[in-house]
């Protein structure tokens, strides 16, 4: 077996070439950005190493931090509401028989497949039609809307593997409907609910297009802020921000992976 593996390793392989190319194209731009974040001057000419842009980022960019706070606020609130709604929808559609069930299922996937521009525009039109002022609330509504199908999909997939007779067993053993939901259904699908929630956070944090249409004055999120910065020329502060975000994302990913593993192992 090990002999076989060795021959594979040493021989030229198409897969290895492709892998190297993909890594180069994906990561070289990131390395360039990180590299120049430590430059002491603006522009693509290396002068000397310095932390000046990090200092600017941390101490002299209040509006950037305001945008970041908006992003976090929106991400958490919209993910929580999308997770609750999406999970309940999945449970309801799976276990109750009612009219228009399959219709609702199909429609609920729409925000996932429609181009973001269309969702953005239609939301903008809707909000102005019902005269809701654009701001954090409209962003929250929009993010909840596009996050919901992802939770719905993940929870539904988990429910499909779920044995229906465990619900009958719960009722049989004396649990009422609420106890069945809280003590049997939710605990068994909690990994799917959590991964749906994390996915929502990610998608909400990075969304640009939809947010662009439904944000109002002072309610810009981080991606919108970065975009507006670029319009006045690429500031090395963005480079610094990029590195901070890469580190942050890696840390979060690492811990959540561990966390999800323990959750999965205990269920």
């Amino acid at each position: 077996m090990s002999h076989h593996r060795n021959t594979l390793k040493t021989s030229f392989s198409f897969s290895y070439t492709m892998l190297s190319l993909v890594i180069v194209f994906l990561f070289i731009p990131l390395f360039v950005v990180v590299f120049f974040s430590f430059n002491s001057v603006k522009g693509m000419q290396w002068e000397s190493a310095s932390l000046i842009w990090y200092k600017t980022l941390i101490y002299e960019s209040p509006s950037l931090w305001a945008a970041f706070r908006n992003s976090l606020l929106i991400a958490f609130t919209s993910s929580i509401s999308a997770t609750i709604l999406g999970s309940l929808a999945a449970i309801g559609i799976k276990w109750y028989r009612f009219k228009g069930r399959s219709y609702i299922t199909t429609v609920s996937y729409l925000p996932m497949v429609l181009p973001e521009v269309i969702i953005g525009i239609s939301m903008l039109i809707f909000f102005s039609a019902v005269k809701i002022r654009l701001g954090l609330f409209t962003i929250f509504v929009a993010h909840t809307t596009f996050n919901l199908p992802f939770v719905f999909m993940m929870v539904s997939a988990r429910l499909d593997e779920f044995d229906y007779s465990t619900l009958e067993a719960a009722r049989d053993l004396g649990a009422n409907e609420r106890q069945t939901l809280l003590k049997v259904i939710v605990p068994s699908i909690i990994p799917a609910i959590l991964s749906g929630f994390l996915m929502c956070i990610t998608m909400s944090l990075e969304d640009f297009v939809i947010t662009f249409f439904v944000s109002g004055p002072g309610s810009g999120t981080l991606p919108l802020y970065v975009y507006s910065m670029i319009r006045y020329g690429v500031s090395p502060v963005i480079n610094a921000l990029t590195f901070v975000m890469i580190l942050g994302t890696m840390l979060i990913a690492f811990f959540f992976r561990k966390f999800l593993k323990t959750v999965a192992a205990s269920s």
């Binding site: 044995d163 007779s165 465990t166 009958e168 067993a169 719960a170 009722r171 049989d172 053993l173 004396g174 649990a175 009422n176 106890q179 003590k183 049997v184 605990p187 068994s188 909690i190 205990s266 269920s267």
Partner: protein
């Protein structure tokens, strides 16, 4: 005796055009191990689910000790179910699964622990209490399910093909254990199965079902030895069945001796029965393969009602303790007769009866039965 008497009266249930239960009545005694036996789609599971409260009859009544239970939701009925798919809660350990019903009722911790350990011991799962269901074998899972269903101390335990997902050897062991558990807890067991050997080996009584109807209710011995209909005769065990016409019927002690015309055997057959039949009636004649004797020489018959036929061994099927033979009768239309013969002595040169041997098959009049066609 603990447990309750379970009475179903004129219960019907249809799904669209399909009649799952057609006017079924049955009375299950207190503390009885009662089996509902039949092929898939015969309505046995529907009846069980109606008793459990997961399904509702279109008409009819179900009562525990003469108290109507149909208005009660499943959690209010004194019946608990063991499911075919185990239906264990995957996120809970063995201990937590068994403790689930107690914890729902906010039983104090000490009582929960004491009772759970009692039932863990009953189903012999000591040493597995902290495992998750995914770490258990099929047999262990079903033990957890049994303990969990019993811990509420129900009056009726409903078992929905609990062993069908297990392999043959394990099934036999668990079946014996189930019987022992029944003896210990003493409540009414209603056991749904399509496996006749399971039903025969543990039940006090069996109801044989087909197409939404109960065809016969009786002890395993009655069901096997005196099947009421053609379906029961062929579903329970193996048998030879031939259509026949009654030629004569006369009293013979406490029974009746009938002379039958059996076209497939091209001869007359004698059979005794407790019921008189009209001359000319069309019925089915059946005789179990193990009741037929097989020999190289004609049996010394000092009995005029002995039925003897000559034939050739068409296909011997050796299975260790016994062989199954298909004997092709000499007379047209060369009907095949199934015969079992146990190997009680060891012979150097191989089994006594071999392929292509000319043999005689015979059975006495009281080894055969007359059955009616089921479909009427």
């Amino acid at each position: 005796m603990k447990g309750v008497e379970v009475t179903a009266q004129r219960v019907s249930r249809s799904y669209g055009d399909f009649k799952a239960l057609d006017n079924v009545s049955v009375q299950i005694k207190k503390g009885e191990f009662f089996s509902l036996l039949g092929p898939s789609g015969c309505g046995k599971t529907t009846l069980l689910r109606i008793i459990a409260g997961f399904d509702f009859p279109d008409s009819g009544s179900v009562a525990f000790d003469n108290k109507d239970i149909l208005p009660l939701p499943p959690e209010k009925r004194q019946a608990n179910t063991v499911f075919q798919t185990y239906a264990l809660f995957p996120h809970l350990t063995v201990y937590e699964n068994i403790a689930f019903p107690l914890r729902l009722r906010r039983t104090d911790k000490a009582t929960v622990e004491q009772k759970v350990m009692e039932y863990v011991k009953l189903v012999q799962l000591e040493g597995h209490i902290n495992k998750k269901p995914s770490m258990l074998s099929g047999g262990q899972k079903q033990r957890v399910a049994i303990a969990r269903a019993l811990i509420n101390e129900p009056s009726v335990l409903l078992l929905d093909e609990p062993l069908s997902a297990l392999d043959a050897k394990l099934r036999q062991n668990l079946l014996v254990e189930l019987d022992l558990i029944h003896d210990k807890v003493g409540i009414t067991f209603i056991y749904v199965t399509h496996d006749q050997s399971e039903a025969l080996s543990v039940s006090d009584r069996i109801a044989v079902m087909n197409q939404g109807k109960i065809l016969q209710i009786g002890t395993p011995y009655e069901i096997y030895e005196a099947p009421a209909t053609r379906f029961v005769a062929s579903f329970i065990g193996e048998t030879n069945i031939f259509p026949c016409t009654v030629l004569s019927c006369e009293a013979h002690g406490e029974e009746f001796l009938l002379r039958l015309d059996v076209p497939q055997l091209q001869d007359e057959v004698f059979v005794t029965d407790f019921e008189a039949q009209e001359v000319g009636a069309s019925l089915d004649f059946t005789v179990r393969p193990e009741k037929i004797r097989i020999s190289h020489t004609p049996p010394r018959s000092n009995n005029a009602t002995m039925n003897t036929f000559k034939g050739i061994v068409e296909e011997p099927i050796y299975s260790g303790f016994q062989s199954k033979f298909f004997i092709k009768l000499e007379k047209e239309p060369s009907t095949l007769v199934k015969v079992f013969k146990q190997h009680t002595v060891f012979l150097e040169e191989g089994p006594e009866i071999q392929w292509k041997d000319t043999v005689y098959v015979s059975w006495s009049a009281n080894d055969g039965y007359l059955v009616k066609d089921t479909e009427q």
